[in-house]
């Protein structure tokens, strides 16, 4: 891209970026630095006393079984992967259907897109209401029609299934938007040429459409994992509160709980730093592979 015209002004540009920079430094960089700093200390939550403990907050996470960090890590990965697989598979399938030359396809698209606007918390509340052991209609159906002993507050498998369904349900629309736009940009001539050469619909999808969609698929893969890891806090907080026991306490929920509820600031800070490293790794991974040009 050619360089844009540049105005000559010495002070003005600083005034223009000032609001952004002030917020970035006060609310982003300073707290991030604080997290790193605090992660090396044991802190009394009520006074200001801080004792330097080196890497103890970190080693404790990985060696102390009462902290249950590995357990939290494993369940987070399983949760994020399940959400990604379910929501991508369903969204891709539906986007392929909506991309066919059929009547009402605009209507179908609208009907698939609106749930993007539903907040993660509301998704959690809706599914909680349907599957609440006391009042939920679907919980009642499971109990009285299928004779399932349904109580997700006591059974880990049921809890995991429920939070995964709620989180995936909300994410389908997001994936659908991107898959549909990806499918629409596949050149029609290419498909027609393959059809003339005798490739059937499934072969065309396998050999032409899906490979052309791979940048979209990859982008969504990263975004869905990020969603599963970091943005599903409201679902856990509302639906299971990390339970039964601590079995569904995903990493983000654990940071919040250890910091806000248990007031273990050092450990919470160390966990924040680990999460930061994870986000950084995911972001770099994504930009590397998509070869986005963000250089200056």
């Amino acid at each position: 891209m050619a360089k844009q015209y540049e105005f000559k002004a010495k002070v003005l540009p600083y005034f223009l970026v000032l609001p952004q920079m002030v917020i970035v430094f006060i609310f982003f960089f300073w707290p991030a630095a604080q997290a790193i700093w605090q992660s090396f200390f044991l802190q009394d939550p009520f006074g200001g006393r801080m004792i330097f403990v080196g890497l103890e907050n970190y080693t404790k996470l990985f060696t102390d079984p009462t902290v249950a960090y590995w357990q939290s890590f494993t369940v987070s990965v399983a949760f994020a992967v399940c959400i990604t697989v379910i929501s991508m598979a369903l969204a891709l399938f539906l986007a392929v259907q909506a991309n066919k030359k059929i009547r009402f396809s605009n209507f179908y698209t609208t009907m698939m897109i609106w749930p993007y606007a539903v907040s993660t918390l509301v998704a959690g509340v809706i599914w909680l209401f349907m599957f609440n052991p006391n009042v939920g209609v679907l919980a009642w159906t499971l109990k009285h029609v299928f004779h399932v002993n349904w109580d997700y507050l006591l059974n880990f498998n049921q809890a995991f299934l429920l939070i995964t369904l709620a989180a995936s349900w909300k994410q389908i629309s997001y994936n659908f938007v991107f898959f549909l736009s990806g499918l629409q940009s596949v050149p029609e001539t290419l498909i027609e040429a393959a059809a003339i050469d005798g490739a059937g619909p499934s072969k065309r999808f396998q050999k032409i459409i899906f490979p052309l969609l791979s940048p979209t698929t990859f982008y969504l893969l990263v975004m869905d994992l990020v969603y599963g890891f970091f943005e599903t806090f409201p679902i856990i907080h509302q639906m299971t509160a990390g339970g039964p026991g601590k079995s569904t306490a995903i990493l983000v929920y654990k940071v919040w709980r250890d910091g806000v509820v248990n007031l273990d600031l050092g450990s919470s800070a160390a966990q924040s730093v680990i999460l930061m490293l994870m986000v950084i790794a995911l972001t770099i991974f994504q930009f590397r592979f998509l070869e986005r040009r963000v250089t200056y």
């Binding site: 844009q4 509301v122 950084i280």
Partner: protein
Amino acid sequence: MVEHSKFKKLLPHIFLWLGILIMIFPIYFIFVASSHTTDEILAAPMPMSIGPHLIENYSKALTQGSSNMGTPVMIMLKNSTIMALGISIGKIVVSLLAAFAIVFFDFPLRGFCFWSIFITLMLPVEVRIMPTYKVIADLHMLNSYAGLILPMIVSATAVFLFRQYFMSIPREIPEASQIDGATPMQFFRRILVPMTRTPIAAMFVIQFIAGWNQYLWPLLITTKPEFYTLLIGINRMLSGADVQIEWNIVMATTLLALLPPVIVILLMQEQFVTGMTETEK
């Protein structure tokens, strides 16, 4: 053969309707629940058709809220609106100014500013919960609109989108405005911003929805009911330990929390889709 192809033509419609049902059915549940009394819902399974208490439940929710909380939903509706508009408009204004500086001026700290904004992508609230809370507490911004809005109005995505759009503008336009004697700020206000309508609209939809649906942040910094947003209110209504949850009121509130962003997306679907897929690139 004819039967076969007819069925084949119908198949995508069937699949799509199934998809739509998966999306709509849960919403139907909460709508039905918001039209009954709590007793009717508790006598599981609740009725599957709309009951006679619809208006009663919504007006009770809006003016009184649930008994265990006692904050009218009207107040939360107001707070959510202020927060969502504050965040979305704030993000757009701040990002437009920053992108304008970065694209149209050459200054020594340009690269530094650009990368600082880029790095915020890697620091979502979720990974700096406690220290950000402490900053807000030190600035005495707990339980305030400023506290709800200010830390949220940085958006690397918005800056990137505007920057990309600004760079695609023919350089003759700023040049001509300069020759005609317009100051850079006049160019910004009278030419650049009006030209950027479409990306601004796209960003507005996305950021309004994101702002409205903010949960973790208000959960951290609001402790007084008069600053609760709708989503926090719903959480509080559901967390009374000893009292009976008033499901009908909670479900009415849930529907009220769901409607505004859905209406925005339905009205601005085109801008939304462009905005989403443009920022990906």
